[in-house]
């Protein structure tokens, strides 16, 4: 197993963990974190692709690396917006759950410790 394969397998494991978390956790905050874990896996995958595509006297292929930087910034801004939405949801409804109120009463009241 060479280095690129090892990185690729780690990336797949991260993406798998992220998808599992995204599907099984109902809490929005955990979904956001799971989405970021998927993102980390994809960034690692891009790193592995860049490493494997080295050629023409360069240490690694710069095109995937440049896309990687763009991706990290976009993931950051999306996460910041998602967290802001979640905080606003908590301020307005007093709940951080996406479940409807009839089925699941909110387990958090405003002012209660997190």
């Amino acid at each position: 197993m060479n280095t690129a394969t090892l990185f690729g397998l780690c990336a797949s494991a991260l993406i798998g963990m992220g998808v599992y978390g995204l599907l099984t956790n109902p809490q929005p905050l955990r979904k956001i974190i799971a989405l970021n874990i998927i993102g980390s896996g994809i960034f690692l995958l891009f790193g592995a692709i860049a490493y494997r595509g080295a050629g023409a006297g360069m240490g690694s292929d710069p095109v995937p690396q440049a896309l990687l930087i763009t991706g990290i910034v976009v993931a950051f801004s999306a996460t910041a917006l998602a967290i802001a939405l979640l905080l606003r949801l908590y301020e307005v409804t007093g709940s951080v759950s996406l479940a409807s109120d009839e089925a699941n009463p909110p387990d958090h009241k405003p002012g209660a410790p997190e």
Partner: protein, 190 residues
């Protein structure tokens, strides 16, 4: 890619990709950041519209946080500017430099040494859009002089890339810092 890198005058292949071969991606990336910031701002409650973002931090003069916030920023700002400057020829660049500068700003704010500016301040908004506007301006310059949007005239690539990076650095620093601070929660006066 390796054959054309010399034409950009930039030594770091990643910077060359970001600002010469895939410059449109980088422009749209800056736009995404700006749009995300607008999205966060638009979540403000009515009475806090245009107010100061984030929580009010009180200064604790003897805490280690205050000490760090006084000692670290000069070093951090130097490191951020250095990372920004070497981006032309080595790993680094505007996003990495702006991240460090923004973290130093946030450190000072969290320690309570300074207050976040109200979002309705005009200078703040000018600085926020300056970087993307310079980027678009250079793009139109390419349309006039080189025949395509964001194409650099021969021999002008390096100075134009440096100009874009220099204009984007303060904008990105402010955008990243303000994204971390989040929704406006206080009105302008306190």
């Amino acid at each position: 890619m390796a054959q054309h890198i010399d034409s950009t005058g930039v030594g770091n292949p990643i910077t060359a990709v970001l600002l010469a071969f895939r410059a449109m991606d980088t422009l749209l990336e800056a736009m995404v950041l700006l749009l995300a910031l607008l999205g966060v701002w638009s979540l403000a409650a009515d009475q806090h519209w245009g107010g100061r973002p984030g929580l009010a931090y009180t200064l604790q003069p003897n805490s280690i946080l205050t000490y760090t916030a006084r000692v670290l920023p000069p070093l951090g700002i130097m490191a951020g500017l250095y990372i920004f400057w070497v981006g032309a020829d080595a790993p680094g660049g505007k996003f990495q430099g702006a991240t460090l500068l923004a973290s130093m700003w946030l450190l000072v704010l969290i320690a309570g040494l300074s207050k976040a500016p109200p979002l309705k301040r005009r200078w703040l908004r000018v600085w926020l859009v300056l970087g993307p506007l310079v980027f678009i301006g250079v793009g139109w310059l390419g349309t006039l002089l080189a025949g395509a949007f964001l194409a650099y005239p021969p021999g002008m690539a390096k100075p134009l890339i440096v100009a874009i990076e220099l204009a984007l650095l303060p904008s990105l620093t402010l955008i990243l810092g303000l994204l971390m601070l989040g929704i406006p929660r206080r009105s302008v006066s306190p």
